[in-house]
Amino acid sequence: MSAAGPRHAAPVAAIWAVLAFASIAGFALAEGLAPARIAATAAILLAAVKINLIMVHYMDLTWSHTPLRPLLAAWLAVVTLILLGGYWSA
């Protein structure tokens, strides 16, 4: 975090609204709003987007926080690939 100046560009409520909408969208797709493979892939990608939003806006992590931010970004990429790989290889 920079010592001076605001670190938060987005209001918490706005981030919450995006996270909630993405969660409901993933749920609706899984309930049959889209073909199975599209719905599952979207659910995984939406989860990745949500996690990234939490890391940036709630956990307050920026790319200046090395090695933590790159490490968590790598974690997210690996987990996303694990879920996509597990699903598409079935």
């Binding site: 975090m1 918490v12 969660s23 409901i24 599952a40 968590l72 690996v78």
Partner: protein
Amino acid sequence: MTATTAPDRASMATLPGDSGVWFFIVADMCAFAVFFLVFSAGRAAEPALYETSRRMLDLRFGLANTLILLTSGAFMAQAARTAQRGDWQRTRTLLIVTMITGLPFGLSKALEWSAKMAHGVTLTTNEFFTYYFIFTGVHFLHFAIGIAVLIVLMRTATDTAKPADTRLRWIEAGGAYWHMVDLLWIVLFAMLYLLRAA
């Protein structure tokens, strides 16, 4: 009496919270990544079993739990921002709201697990449910620890015996842990509930 002095941000390390807590968070997340890998490998090996089992879950519980944790996490984020401004009384109030909005997650999990068990679905039913109960159980343990952390933070927020920088560090570190509980659930929700097979 509540201190309203804003912490001296320039004198603090740049990382929010505490580096030791972040080390724990990364280690814990890596352990969960192994869980996700094991589950995904199992799903790839037996897709029919996993899909049949997934259909036995109530997706509404999964969504409700997600929204509960997201809402609680939003209040936690606001609490940390308020602490950064040095408004400790409001920080404490927001931490209380964080806990109150998070507690229904525990109730919801208890209802979901008991409904499953009432239908004879247990840890030993099949591989999917073994993972389901273990992963959600371990996650629930993290949730319970998080509630305890929030209680400590509520006391810390208005503890004028502690310097403002120390209080802020604790609140940011506890907040990072609470957000980890949230983001791990987001993966579990997608992995266990939402991956509908073709």
